[in-house]
Amino acid sequence: MTFEEFVAARLPTLVRFATALTGDPHLAQDIVQDVMVKAHARWRRIDAMDRPELYVRRAITNEFLSWRRRWSVRHMQSRADVPERPVPDHATASADSAEVWQQLSVLPRQQRVVLVLSYYEGLSDTEIADMLECAVGTVRGYRSRALATLRTALAPALESR
């Protein structure tokens, strides 16, 4: 598969994945752009892999983790600064999603990555640990803390409904 064919076939999926990671469509596209430009330079080797998309997804995750470090220096995000996302304002369910997204956006980046890989990509703890190059226990710790934070933050919203 040529680089152009890969981009044509997989770009929408990769952008959705990056958007789930970042919660910000613009930042997601910036990250995907950076990763794809780098991937182009070594595409022949990537294409020779059995699963090129897995490599690119891993690169996007790593880019997000490092990008957020740079990003946070110049763009301190407050809880009120909710990232742009495709949320229709007419449905209760979507309003609920918006609330979840708002809380997700303020989680530490590793915790957020673990949640996205668990609940969006459907990966197991072992697979996530492989991807992030950390211990399985670390993955479980991130998820446990992230869910605890979300439960606490989302509880008042539930009660008010």
Partner: protein
């Protein structure tokens, strides 16, 4: 499952239905690639300037190299080849069943760890590999028994892979792409793989003999018997010989060099020599890593002599 987890899953699922507008992104990627090429070219100018001084000092040495290696058209007839003509790793497996019209289109031998692969193309593309480690599994997997072993199947980019332990500490992988039902084909091929008399990839068409080519190579031969490409990755440099094979296009901006009397073009970190007779030699850094021009030139000079080789096994049935 807790309410929080359900709500989280639903919130994340919102993005599965969203179709992003990618117009700006595709334009941005194209612009980024052009900018990266320009940066590499600028970097190469700097490297070239720095190399001038080195080359000036090394002229006598270089002249010696040139005298040792006449024009490739003459040397192409030479029978003797330097080292690397024989690879020690052999491939000792073959499928008993393949999709219709399948013929062998590639063999890969990794001298580092003994990993090998055979690729067959026809109504589908089937890659059979013998590896020392399993692939990492992501997403949905399916388990089955193949010849008494636990096999795992999973979707790959545009295809399906089945992997299972076989032999001592080794893994068999069957990856099928370009097929309507890749999973069924992968399982059927995996069930049919059996041990056969070992085969290799025949003699290599060239050999790089400078010190940086001293590593054990990863060699891939692909194409057809009369139109092939051989990629020899030796860690520091990668030597590619093409014979009547669709080659890489020469970039617009390049620097012309002379290698063994033939015109060579140096651009974007690779040295390409048109040897005539539909034969092309490319020397570059692996993974597009920058390699000093001087090293590319030395590798190209040492990579000769070349000889016309026919890979009889390409295009045949196993």
């Amino acid at each position: 499952m807790s309410t929080t987890e359900e709500r989280l899953r639903e919130a994340l699922a919102d993005y599965d239905t969203a179709t992003p507008d990618l117009t700006d992104l595709t334009t941005g990627i194209a612009t980024g690639i052009r900018r990266q090429r320009r940066k590499r070219q600028y970097a190469m100018v700097g490297t070239t300037i720095a190399t001038v001084a080195v080359v000036a000092l090394a002229v006598p040495f270089s002249m010696g190299i040139v005298r040792d290696h006449p024009h490739p058209a003459q040397k192409a007839q030479a029978a003797s080849l330097p080292r690397l003509t024989t690879l020690t790793t052999k491939i000792d497996y073959a499928p008993k069943w393949l999709p219709a019209r399948s013929v062998e289109s590639e063999r890969v031998i990794n001298e580092h760890d003994g990993a090998t692969a055979r690729v067959f193309t026809g109504s589908a593309r089937v890659k059979i590999a013998d590896w020392s480690t399993p692939d990492k599994l992501l997403g949905h997997t399916t388990s089955s028994k193949i010849n008494g072993k636990n096999a795992t199947g999973f979707e790959t980019d545009g295809g399906y892979e089945v992997q299972l332990p076989w032999r001592s500490g080794r893994w068999l992988k069957v990856i099928v792409t370009q097929a309507k039902k890749p999973s069924a084909i992968a399982l059927q091929v995996a069930r049919s793989v059996h041990t056969v008399a070992p085969v290799g990839i025949d003699a290599l068409p060239t050999s790089c003999t400078i010190p940086s080519c001293a590593g054990r190579p990863i060699v891939s031969v692909l194409g057809k018997a009369q139109a092939w490409q051989v990629i020899i990755d030796q860690g520091s440099v990668e030597v590619v010989v093409s014979h009547a094979y669709l080659g890489a296009a020469i970039p617009d901006q390049s620097w012309t060099k002379t290698v063994h009397g033939s015109q060579a073009q140096l651009a974007n970190g690779q040295l390409q020599v048109d040897l005539g007779g539909a034969q092309t030699l490319i020397v570059r850094g692996p993974d597009s890593k920058p390699v000093p021009d001087e090293q590319l030139l030395q590798a190209a000079n040492s990579a000769l002599p070349l000889r016309a080789t026919t890979y009889e096994w390409l295009g045949t049935k196993p």
